[in-house]
Amino acid sequence: MEEVPHDCPGADSAQAGRGTSCQGCPNQRLCASGAGAAPDPAIEEIKEKMKTVKHKILVLSGKGGVGKSTFSAHLAHGLAEDENTQVALLDIDICGPSIPKIMGLEGEQVHQSASGWSPVYVEDNLGVMSVGFLLSSPDDAVIWRGPKKNGMIKQFLRDVDWGDVDYLLVDTPPGTSDEHLSVVQYLAAAHIDGAVIVTTPQEISLQDVRKEISFCRKVKLPIIGVVENMSGFVCPRCKKESQIFPPTSGGAEAMCQNLKIPLLGRVPLDPHIGKSCDRGQSFFVEAPDSPATLAYRSIIQRIQEFCGPHQTEENLISS
């Protein structure tokens, strides 16, 4: 590993660009110049901007395709059912934005106003922002490296005119890289309530999710809890349940017990959820009494309770 800065001292350390591990790193010169040491002035600006946002929740998963965007969208729909609750949904999956489609907003464009970019509104109390609204065609690929993605996220947090918001939900791409580090750093001064981690039951997914949890711990991001998605499939004909993604290592429940974090609930695999997302409609409206809707609702309630006023700072950090 000699050529890779395995022990990167960090851009803000005194050793930045000077350590032995910095040899050969493409950022060496930049780090050595000290430019990385000064805190980004945007962090303070974002803190100011976020004063009108009460709660900030990140939706994370180490693994792709487990249902982060589906969950984020339904968390937004669920919270926005109370018309006195103002909800904002921010999609920071820059290379694969799914939120516009799932929210039924494909082809919408962002409008520029005096106070910044206006989010696209699904309901009066549910605003959405995504890089998808900035693309001219659904075939457009955003082939961007890290720094450009970070710049976009900064703009989303600083330059979008969110207004007074009760919940800002941030949907993230898979992994533990630029987007995740950036959103956490930019919101550092503004306080994030916590992260909801989405997984599927099989070990291949859980092994990535454990990495995401270790990321949360590294960056001191409180974990609200874990949602197990695609958990069991009930055949529409014979009503018997099968495990399409078998929990070979005990599923999210065993993982949560081991790592001492709450399991917020399990959402069964219901083919109608995918169809609702493809049509851009809320599954809650399409199937109000289905087991999946009930599972979602109970999870949403637990998240609301977590963000509730009785929760002290200490509890948040220790969880």
């Binding site: 395709g65 004909r237 997302c277």
Partner: protein
């Protein structure tokens, strides 16, 4: 670090196939693994390079977790997953001390490691190098294409699931292939249809037909659909070879036919 000459370590590699998808969790690693196994059963020598640095899945799928990469005078020796040494694997998973450790790296650091994977792994003679990628069109993809493109024509296998949300992301991946000059060998639709083990009713859990339609729109070959199959999931969870242990699995003929089509599509040097 940059050299115009071909890295010696790639000299014995005949073909390179990148497995790509704009969307996560559609089965890139599954298809990479099964493709490698199918090629291995055809008597080919295969290497897998896992460039998903934040979420490497291949070591588990080939039951190679915890194995170590050794150094030789030509660089890193990949991990051999079978006794005959016909499948070799390189992944960041082998470089982590603790499997739960998060690789919290920004782009430049990821690019540096990928460059090293390309230049410093002693692959030896390979019929085919399968490169498994993370979701998206960002640092890892550009790094691997930039590092490999000068030496071999690069082929891309694009994986999607049938639903529109996934197809939407994969359309963007095809644009990436076009822009970077990758030759798309075809589209594979994964997770299409689930046959209930109790009553045999087939449910299209993630809708149907999206992959074929995408291939038609983009003018690239459609290689086939792989059904949702708990036996396939289980074999990958436990690192077994599906083609050996579950020959009756519905995913098996689908995967074999896809591998066959890919093999037939490669220039004759492979045979």
């Amino acid at each position: 670090m940059e050299t115009a000459a071909e890295p010696e370590n790639l000299a014995g590699v005949r073909h390179i196939i990148l497995v790509l998808s704009g969307k996560g969790g559609v089965g890139k690693s599954t298809i990479s693994t099964e493709l490698a196994l199918a090629l291995h059963h055809e008597g080919k020598k295969v290497g897998i390079l896992d460039v998903d640095l934040c979420g490497p899945s291949i070591p588990r799928m080939l039951r190679a977790q915890g194995k170590a990469v050794h150094q030789c005078d030509r660089g890193w020796v990949p991990v051999f997953v079978d006794r005959e040494q016909s499948i070799s694997l390189m992944s960041v998973g082998f470089l982590l001390e603790n499997p739960d450790e998060a690789v919290v790296w920004r782009g430049p650091k990821k690019n540096a490691l990928i460059k090293q994977f390309v230049s410093d792994v002693a692959w030896g003679e390979l019929d085919c190098l399968v490169v498994d990628t993370p979701p998206g069109t960002s640092d890892e993809h550009m790094a691997v294409v930039e590092a490999l493109r000068p030496y071999r024509p690069l082929r891309a296998l694009v994986v999607t699931t049938p639903q529109a949300v996934s197809v939407g992301d994969v359309r963007r991946e095809l644009t990436f292939c076009k822009k970077t000059g990758l030759q798309v060998v075809g589209v594979v639709e994964n997770m299409s249809g689930f046959a209930c083990p109790h009553c045999a009713e087939c449910t299209y859990v993630f809708s149907r037909g999206g992959g074929e339609e995408l291939a038609r729109l983009a003018g690239v070959p459609f290689l086939g659909s792989v059904p949702l199959d708990p036996e396939l999931t289980r074999s990958l969870e436990e690192g077994h070879d599906l083609t050996q242990e579950f020959p009756k699995s519905p995913a098996f003929p689908a995967l074999t036919s896809i591998a066959r089509k890919i093999l037939d599509g490669l220039p004759a040097t492979l045979s």
